[in-house]
Symmetry: C2
Subunit: 343 residues, 2 copies
């Protein structure tokens, strides 16, 4: 290394000169659908190739008044579910020629400042997967006229398109899986803090129990983590003894796995013999043999694709009515429930 006279990166001007055309022509050669004669276009592309030219995204964005960037707002990125979600989102965006600007918004960061920050890039959209409430995000995006898509944050909350899942179906599926295993006394493990998606499925589950006139005990966890599930396990066992609970719905797989670790692997409780468990999400770990967790799957890839589609659609027609796309769930029967006929 060492010598290499650092040459200024070539601009459309350089390409124009090399190809013997004007800068506008160069621009057109790089603009899909622009009117350029094939020969000229080829000449321009060749010259560009030779010079190592690429369109400056900053300049292009500045002039177009919006870049090809799309903000992804996500919390707890190191959680299996969220990681998969972000991966799918990023892939879909890339496929559409959009570039994901990542914004990790864990508790403690100043979401207000962060959102302003990504808006300063004239992003062509923002996708929020975080489950921390963020009215300021909606407000900021709306004021800036930036398409906003929320995933699992409730149906069309005014000012944003939404991708969500069928909560009722989810809660019901959990109930049915346990019920099919012969459970008549239920329990629910969910975090205390309200969240559209997680609280929603929990409430749907409770509603089912009540509708069937079957008793259900609610246990609250600190959050949705493995640790929280693990910590709640003793309370669950106590409740099981006290109330004769035979089956529990854990609002996330991570919680369920935490419970399994404590109950099955540490204390040797027979699951599903003594207690049946159903989780939610179908993260990869749910399928691992140590857990073989019966759960409710939501199709992350499908949701991600829909989110990108919605952003694109609004980009094209800014004042179309806000849309909510709702997706169904799938029961995944594994080894923490007793097999039963489809309910």
């Amino acid at each position: 290394m060492g010598g290499e006279p650092r040459t200024r990166t070539p601009t459309s001007f350089d390409v124009a000169r090399a190809a013997g055309v004007s800068r506008s022509t160069v621009s057109r050669a790089f603009t899909p659908g622009a009117r350029v004669s094939p020969e000229v276009r080829a000449r321009v592309l060749d010259a560009a190739e030779a010079l190592g030219y690429r369109v400056n995204a900053l300049a292009r964005g500045l002039q177009a008044r919006h870049s090809r960037l799309v903000g992804i707002v996500a919390s707890r990125l190191d959680t299996p579910f969220r990681a998969l979600q972000v991966r799918c989102l990023a892939q879909n965006l890339l496929r559409e020629g959009l570039d994901p600007l990542l914004l990790v918004a864990d508790r403690g960061e100043d979401i207000r400042a962060l959102i302003q920050n990504i808006l300063s890039y004239s992003v062509s959209g923002v996708i929020v997967t975080s489950d921390t409430p963020a009215p300021e995000v909606v407000e900021a995006c709306n004021r800036a006229g930036v398409p906003l898509v929320m995933i699992n944050r409730g149906p069309a909350s005014a000012g944003a398109d939404t991708v969500c899942l069928d909560l009722d179906a989810g809660g019901r599926a959990a109930f049915e899986m346990l019920r099919a295993g012969g459970v008549t006394r239920f329990a629910l493990l969910a975090q205390a803090e309200r969240t559209w998606s997680v609280s929603g499925r929990a409430e749907a589950f409770l509603a089912c129990c009540r509708a069937h006139d079957l008793p259900v005990t609610t246990i609250e966890s600190a959050d949705q983590s493995h640790r929280a599930g693990h910590a709640a396990a003793d309370a669950i066992e106590a409740a099981a003894r006290r109330d004769g609970v035979q089956g529990i719905f854990c609002a996330t797989d991570l919680l369920a796995i935490g419970v399994l670790d404590r109950l099955r692997h540490e204390r040797g409780v027979d699951i599903p013999g003594a207690l049946q468990i159903v989780g939610f999400d179908d993260i990869a770990q749910a399928g691992w043999s140590a857990y073989s967790l019966s759960t409710i799957r939501q199709d992350v890839a499908q949701q991600a694709a829909a989110a990108v589609e919605l952003a694109l659609a609004r980009l094209e027609v800014p004042d179309r009515p806000f849309e909510t796309r709702s997706f169904g769930i799938t029961k995944v029967r594994r080894g923490t429930t007793r097999c039963g006929a489809e309910a």
Copy 2:
């Protein structure tokens, strides 16, 4: 929704007029370390606040000839280790006022095109965590004069700063943990495809076995995934029987957990009784009770911080010599090895 006269986002010009100053002054008010009188600055900031003005990152980047964006190139983002890595990277960048541009480069995407794409944003750096080889990335960044930092891709491979871990120590630690458990016949599980970090630790482990004149059987997995570990488990058991293997080093935790799922949870093999296992990385799942995997920890947060520091350093002094920061590892003794004194 519907009314809201979509007002054009305010520019420095609007702020200038509102504050009764020139655009240059507005610019200075938003430039750390620029000479502006405190009163004027305050007036400008107030006006900006009132108008909802924020500096346009595209315009600023265009004129500065580099943006505050930093590319993160990562593969298999939905893997626990990588997800954590990206999260740490993103947090550190954000903390420095840099914005992570995410590039998911799984096999199948055209890495060449993708890297050109992020370079078109005049990024101020690129951080690569992917373990797929990518000489074209190095070349492209160098040509564009963009700082490049590689994580776990080998020491200063010319043209890039590097963060890596002490492979020898890693391989040795694995050997020692097994040896301390009384193992005299070893096995190694690693993917066939070469990768600096993973192959390196594997080779260091092999070297240790040889140096101690102890026999070691090598088993190859398809990749580094849980599935691959699971699939390799039968071969491991066969080898254990055939060669009297008592302990195995799995080159990643995910592999080790796959093996554990098959052997311990499906076939009821006594681990560590019949076979001891050591993994590598210390992902969250390694600590879950079902596995309680003894492993070698690498400090992802520390590595991420170092990577960002290196990028920043080169940004400041573009022609400083390439630097390699190497980090140590830590033995984490859990339940897949027999306790022993520190080797």
